[in-house]
């Protein structure tokens, strides 16, 4: 047995010296936080309904709900807890989206990207947020103090309120308003007010430029977006988010996107308009870095700045979720129609275990589709350049608005056609899904060819 040379320094393992531990820890927390949030939404949103609370009062507290004095308090409490969970869901999804976007972009740009805080730099967004909170909260001397301070709250309110009508699963929605999609359009408009206020109150020329651009852009693009939204509304015959989803099926050929060729057009218009309303490339004019320094954000720092960024990235989830609701069949689970859900629910006040399983499944389907659309938005951002102000207006008023009207009127006629020709819906779905698959196959083949031409290969292992 040979002893180790005397001069070999013995090193004590440091924290973080074991990469496996770091990776496992990051993975646990990285999957844990969204899992906990989803679980909270899963449990809270069906249980915070008045019927459930009445049942709770009746069965657990042994009181009559009609005469129980604290009934309204319990209602309020349950809604407050749900609101707390949903807003935190938005904020944390926003942070994770930042991480995901940075990882994807670094992959596209041949650089390493986030890799310091946690495995794969997963906690960079936490570090960034903490850093922003520690910065000096600066308000320019000549700024309009009140409006400057108020602006971020408009933005945050417009963002947080969307979660009221945002579906997560079959029964998982805070409030299934019968004007759900109309409500979504209305509250997201608050974000513009905040941006405009920020641009005006900063008393900076760059911020003013950004604010004016934003006002012109977002208000213009609400029109094609609104008309495009009317297409799935017409197809469902309802403004309610859940009802629109219930009118679609689980399989791609039953989605609104593929059962009506004009809905495909409407989706493209809707997607482009959403990019514009969310100030995402190629419509990131209001904060165009190379032109306006930071646009309406120029004078903001610290927490107020963090709020704007939280909303910008959190809105990606909202945008994607609305698109999934309107066009991609929402949370519909294959082989699980409404009768399956009803059967699983059982007769008692508290639904059966199978029902909860189905809810988890529907939530997973919805989240997966949303993440796909979200990824599409990230992809677009790191590929395209920015368009110019006049081109942005031309695109909206000369192309999107007329085409949206055409799609709207054509959908009316299409609905009449569907009523008279049985099977037309399924046939269209099959044809459109098949052609989309062919296009996707060509896209993948061309991507592979381009990679091979560079002497590269498809490699997904090197993350």
């Amino acid at each position: 047995m040979t002893a180790a040379p005397a001069n070999t320094p013995t090193r004590t393992p440091r924290i973080g010296a074991n990469p496996r531990g770091v990776v496992l820890g990051t993975l646990a927390i990285g999957f844990g936080i969204p899992a906990v949030l989803f679980a909270a939404v899963l449990v809270l949103s069906p249980l915070s309904k008045p019927l459930m609370i009445d049942a709770f009062i009746r069965n657990v507290l042994g009181q009559d709900p009609a005469t129980f004095g604290y009934r309204n308090l319990l209602y309020g409490l349950s809604v407050a807890i749900l609101a707390f969970v949903l807003v935190n869901f938005g904020a944390i999804v926003s942070g994770m989206t930042v991480w995901w976007e940075m990882r994807v972009s670094s992959r596209m740009q041949s650089r390493v990207g986030y890799n310091r805080v946690g495995a794969g730099g997963f906690f960079q967004w936490v570090a960034d947020a903490v850093k922003l909170l520690l910065k000096e909260d600066l308000i320019p001397a000549d700024a309009d103090q009140l409006l400057f301070r108020a602006a971020p709250y408009f933005v945050l309110t417009g963002f947080a309120l969307t979660f009221v009508a945002l579906p997560f699963g079959e029964s998982l929605i805070a409030a299934d308003l019968n004007v759900g999609i109309f409500y979504m359009i209305a509250v997201t408009a608050l974000v513009v007010v905040g941006i405009l206020l920020a641009g005006w109150s900063s008393n900076s020329k760059w911020a003013l430029f950004g604010g004016m651009r934003s006002a012109a852009q977002v208000i213009s693009y609400e029109i094609p977006a609104g008309i495009a939204i009317m297409v799935p509304v017409l197809m469902a015959g309802s403004l309610s988010m859940q009802e629109i989803i219930r009118q679609q099926g689980a399989w791609p050929w039953q989605w609104n996107l593929f059962t009506n060729p004009f809905a495909l057009v409407a989706f493209v218009i809707f997607f482009v308009s959403q990019l514009a309303e969310g100030n995402r490339t190629p419509f990131d004019l209001p904060e165009a870095e190379s032109e306006l320094v930071a646009g309406y954000l120029s004078e903001y720092s610290s927490f107020r700045f963090a709020i704007y960024f939280l909303v910008e990235f959190g809105n990606l989830w909202v945008m994607a979720a609305v698109a999934v609701t309107l066009f991609f069949g929402g949370w519909q689970v294959p082989f699980a129609g409404p009768e399956v859900f009803a059967a699983a629910k059982g007769a008692g006040d508290l639904p059966g275990l199978a029902w909860w399983g189905l809810q988890i499944l529907s939530m997973g389907v919805f989240a997966a589709k949303t993440l796909f659309v979200l990824n599409l938005i990230v992809w677009v951002r790191w590929t395209l350049p920015r368009i110019r102000v006049d081109q942005m207006m031309v695109l909206c008023w000369k192309y999107l608005v007329p085409f949206a009207f055409v799609a709207f009127v054509a959908t009316l006629l299409w609905q009449i056609l569907l009523a008279h020709v049985p099977g037309a819906r399924t046939a269209t779905g099959a044809v459109l899904v098949a052609s989309t698959a062919v296009v996707a196959a060509f896209f993948i083949r061309q991507t592979r060819r381009n990679l091979v031409a560079m002497g590269d290969r498809v490699d997904l292992t090197n993350w």
Binding site: P282, E289, S290, W382, L384, R388, V389
Partner: protein, 388 residues
């Protein structure tokens, strides 16, 4: 000064509606300290007046205070994005003053190193142009390829940015072992990269629409304003010093016999001749030509010395000389006057970026704010080269 500039932008009505905007000196798309005083009517520019001088370092005066050989490292700082040309121009001027010639192998090495640096410089130019238009990815792809060139140049002369490689009478070092094969391998990759780059950004619909027919500079106007290099060729003027006023390697018959290349000229690739896209795409085509030149030069490089016999004390007789080279940013000229002492009596540097700045004021009226960014990027101005 301030009043003068305000008068020049037409601010003689104090209560007029136009907005005066300081576009710089610290601005993300000026890429250095340049200031533009911009008068805008909403998004449309009335005028943009460049204000230069933020990076003035008296380089010409330094040249007159140090000896001839000592000035060579300073030339790197005139244009640090393409420092090799600044080296070459100065070396050429002093050699003409001393009436000596660099040996053939040194001439070949000068051509190879300069064309590699031209590729590196153009990569920065087209990359930052894409970034200014709003696409971030092409810029980093360009920087990635430039990094390989930096590695090659580092192997050649030990520096990655300020090379100090060309010397009076030749070049400092011969090729290191294995450098030739490494460079040829890189060029194979680079030619494929250029195709990919075109696919990624050059013919992207949004990109073309942002640049085509924007800030058109017709050929005669470009000549009047003294535009040089890719900016001049982008306007459709077929003029390249390497071919039309050959110097150094380009004047050697044995070099031109073995290295075949052509001068890309803008011809309205997507719009009118002389628009931003022409200036951009001429640079893309020039990278392809430079790659051709390096490949052929590496295959035909002769053996021999890399330094001529230069007197230990450089003391040219009283005379004057001009060294003009085709830099990545166009003609770069060193004018030297010697009074017979060991320091130049007068040194004058003529750079392409300075004249390019001059044209902005007259091209800018009617452009939009976003077009001004495109115009500045397409002229490929480098802040230290403007002011020296």
């Amino acid at each position: 000064m301030e009043k003068l500039i305000l008068r020049r932008v037409g601010k003689d009505h104090p209560d007029s509606e136009e907005m005066i905007l300081n576009f710089g000196p610290q601005h993300p798309s000026t890429h250095g300290v340049i200031n533009f005083i911009v008068e805008t009517d909403g998004e449309v520019l009335k005028k943009a007046v460049p204000e230069v001088g933020y990076l003035h370092r008296s380089i010409e005066k330094i040249g007159e205070s140090v000896g001839y050989p000592q000035f060579m490292p300073y030339t790197d700082r005139i244009d640090y994005v393409a420092a090799m040309f600044a080296n070459e121009g100065y070396a050429l001027a002093v050699e003409r003053l001393l009436k000596i010639d660099a040996p053939p192998r040194a001439q070949w090495l000068r051509a190879i190193s300069c064309e590699l640096v031209r590729i590196a410089s153009h990569l920065v130019s087209v990359g930052t142009m894409a970034m200014d238009i709003g696409a971030f990815t092409p810029m980093l792809h360009g920087i990635r390829e430039r990094e390989t060139i930096n590695d090659l140049i580092e192997a050649l002369c030990g520096a990655r940015l300020t090379y100090n490689y060309h010397r009076i009478g030749g070049v400092a070092f011969d090729l290191p072992e294995g450098w030739r094969d490494k460079t040829l391998r890189f060029l194979d990759h680079f030619d494929a990269f250029l195709v990919e780059f075109d696919r990624l950004i050059s013919f992207n619909e949004i990109y073309v629409r942002r640049l085509a027919n924007v800030a058109v500079i017709p050929g005669p106007m470009a000549i009047d304003y003294g535009l040089v290099g890719p900016n001049l060729r982008g306007s459709g003027v077929d003029w390249d010093l390497r071919r039309d006023l050959p110097y150094g390697p380009w004047a050697l018959p044995e070099f031109t016999a073995k290295v075949k290349w052509s001068v890309p000229v803008g011809k309205g690739f997507t719009g009118r001749t002389g628009d931003c896209f022409d200036r951009y795409y001429v640079r893309c085509l020039e990278m392809k030509e430079s790659s051709r030149i390096v490949r052929q030069a590496l295959e035909s490089i002769p053996e021999g010395e890399t330094m001529a016999k230069v007197p230990r004390k450089v003391k040219p007789e009283a005379s004057e000389a001009l060294g003009r080279v085709e830099s990545a940013r166009g003609e770069m000229a060193y004018y030297l006057v010697s009074d017979g002492s060991d320091k130049p009596y007068r040194l004058r540097v003529r750079t392409g970026s300075f004249t390019a700045m001059g044209i902005i004021e007259d091209v800018s009226p009617g452009l939009m704010v976003a077009d001004l960014v495109a115009l500045i990027a397409s002229l490929d101005v480098v802040a230290p080269e403007i002011d020296r």
